[in-house]
């Protein structure tokens, strides 16, 4: 039998170990953010937001380069993905929560979870085969479709849990005053769950905005602004995560610095979206 002292020492020791582990886990996060800011802040200037990248020689000769086409492309592709994913994801979420007796419901749940668990790179391959091959060209549209595959299952899942959190009595109240089911869903359940819906959508958006793998085979990348705005949709488009990858593995030190700056922009973009999502989670009716 161990003495009380031994047991207390052990208790203290384990507590210390837990604190130490927590610090070890959190330390890299702080180091990463610090490094990204230190390395990238120097390259974040006016040119970065107003010029296009161009060829490597442009940077080597010291002419102004930037990533304006990348930032615009990211916004176009991300919002295109959101427009595609939002209706489908909401619809599937409504089906999961409001029609629990539908025969296809268990199938949908399993399939949605499977899609959610699939590596993002496979979603890129799927979009490549479904969109890029028939179109015959890499395009911003195919990038949007690939990212929508990332958003879809997350939106469906969060929509389901947001709608499920609304008590059944609200639906019964709606039905009792003679509303048809679709009005019950659209006018009572969804408004009541609005903060949950916004949070889920933002989380899906942020998760997709950080993905590079699906975009490599779909929107492909582009060093220049397209001549016509339609080129953003029908032609190859640059996006931040994919450009960041290309810059990081390039052999030019000037491009490495731009990569760090792109990392800051991407990090701020994603973190702001997550922070907004967190803000909406805290909201009550």
């Amino acid at each position: 039998m161990k003495t009380m002292l031994q047991r207390n020492i052990r208790d203290r020791f384990m507590e210390g170990l837990l604190v130490l582990s927590t610090i070890i886990v959190l330390l890299p996060l702080i180091i990463i953010i610090a490094h990204v800011i230190i390395h990238g802040i120097g390259a974040l200037n006016w040119d970065f937001f107003t010029q296009e990248l161009g060829s490597p020689s442009r940077a080597l000769q010291g002419r102004p380069t930037g990533l304006v086409h990348t930032i615009l492309g990211t916004l176009v592709v991300d919002f295109m993905a959101l427009t595609i994913a939002l209706p489908v994801g909401l619809g599937a979420g409504i089906m999961l929560s409001e029609y629990p007796d539908h025969k296809l419901n268990p199938v949908l749940r399993v399939m949605n979870d499977t899609l959610n668990g699939m590596p993002a790179i496979l979603k890129g391959l799927l979009a490549f085969v479904l969109i890029v091959k028939p179109m015959g060209t890499f395009s911003g549209f195919s990038g949007g479709v690939a990212l929508s595959f990332v958003m879809l299952p997350i939106i469906a899942r969060t929509t389901e849990s947001a709608l499920m959190s609304i008590p059944w009595s609200i639906r019964e109240a709606g039905l009792a005053i003679g509303l048809p089911r679709w009005r019950v869903v659209l006018s009572t359940v969804m408004p009541a769950a609005r903060f949950g819906l916004v949070t889920g959508t933002l989380i899906a958006f942020a998760r997709a905005a950080g993905e590079a793998a699906p975009l490599l085979f779909t929107s492909f990348g582009n060093n220049y602004l397209p001549n016509h705005w339609l080129g953003m949709i029908l032609g190859p488009v640059d996006t931040l995560p994919q450009r960041l990858y290309s810059l990081a593995i390039s052999p030019y030190s000037h491009w490495h610095n731009m990569g760090w700056a792109a990392a800051i922009v991407l990090l701020v973009f994603v973190m702001l979206t997550f922070a907004t999502a967190r803000f909406f989670t805290r909201q009550k009716f």
């Binding site: 949908l108 469906a156 973190m271």
Partner: protein
């Protein structure tokens, strides 16, 4: 029991023959729309399996499924022989090792925030952990390329290599080239990236332990650690296991950071410090440059293999979560 069954039967009857109000065009249209959207997700998931199989079928026919999976040569340039074994091995090694490295710290964080830390501190730690999950993979990748890999090379790999060279030269073939970009670096980064998932799921499992369990243990005179070891961990074991498997699934599919750090070597044997490759990393590296149709098809076949592995891991995790009834364990 019987009343429950009756209600369910009544609901079914009602649904089969809904009252007039639910047969109006508005409801019919809405139901049709919602079910169509739901079915489109089902079709999308199925099409992923079929498309990957269809596009990879040329390679799978050429080498046979098991011949492809077990094939050790990946030569897109000269012989045009493709085997996925090196990448399968790379994926399994890096993700399993990453899980083994990260699981104890992740469980520790979960225990600390759930059982020890005051509420405000637990909130801060939770938010920071979720922040790790929010950092895009490419950002971790660029940090790995320019900061972590050179640092590991100078402070860990080179000294170990020098020591092995002078004392145990027979170790050198196992250690491999200490250039910084290789299996160990990729594994460390992977471990860092899956910590948030393991932590969130472990925390769910710990939260599901009834309060009475803790109180009973305390009443017997147990210290805080003894409560955790005797009352909480045995109860939460299944949930923690399910969380670990789900995190493994994340690690298997993680692409960009690994592709940037693993060094990309397509031939076995892989060494501890030396370069390697995983299934996602080889797709990222070669897909855009694949000219031969057999090469392209082989990459798709690797995608199909990855699909199968991810499917098995996810289904197993889903089975465990259902069995131990923990919540989905959502990371923001």
């Amino acid at each position: 029991m019987s009343t429950d069954k009756d209600t369910r039967k009544n609901i079914r009857k009602l649904l089969r023959n809904p009252s007039a109000i639910y047969r109006r065009p508005g409801d019919l249209l809405f139901t049709f729309l919602v079910v169509t959207l739901g079915i489109s997700i089902i079709l999308l998931t199925l099409s992923m399996a079929f498309v990957l199989y269809g596009e990879g079928s040329a390679a799978l026919r050429e080498f046979g499924f098991f011949g492809f999976v077990r094939g050790t040569t990946w030569d897109p340039a000269v012989q045009l022989v493709f085997g996925a074994w090196p990448f399968l091995l790379g994926t399994v090694t890096t993700s399993v090792m990453a899980l083994l490295i990260s699981i104890l710290p992740a469980i520790a964080v979960a225990i600390f925030t759930a059982e020890y830390a005051p509420r405000w501190l637990a909130n801060i730690i939770d938010n920071l952990i979720q922040l790790i999950a929010a950092v895009p993979s490419v950002v971790i990748g660029i940090w790995g390329i320019f900061v972590l890999a050179p640092w590991l090379r100078d402070t860990v790999y080179l000294p170990v290599f020098m020591w092995a060279e002078s004392s145990y030269p027979q170790l050198l073939p196992i250690l491999g080239n200490p250039m910084g970009y290789g299996m160990t670096t990729a594994t460390i980064v992977l471990a860092l990236m899956i910590v948030p998932y393991t932590t969130a799921l472990t925390k769910d499992a710990i939260r599901s332990v009834p309060q009475e369990q803790r109180e009973a243990c305390r009443a017997l005179g147990a210290t805080r650690w003894e409560v955790i070891r005797m009352a909480i961990l045995p109860y939460a074991r299944g949930g923690i296991l399910a969380g670990a498997i789900l995190s493994l699934g994340r690690a298997i599919g993680e692409t960009m950071a690994v592709a940037m750090l693993i060094g990309n070597k397509n031939t076995l044997p892989f060494t501890i410090f030396g370069a390697g490759a995983t299934m996602p990393s080889v797709i990222v590296n070669e897909f855009r440059e694949a000219v031969e149709s057999l090469h392209l098809s082989s990459l798709m076949a690797i995608g199909f293999t990855l699909f199968i592995i991810a499917l098995i891991v996810n289904l197993f995790a889903a089975y465990l979560t259902r069995k131990f009834s923990i919540k989905g364990g959502q990371v923001i």
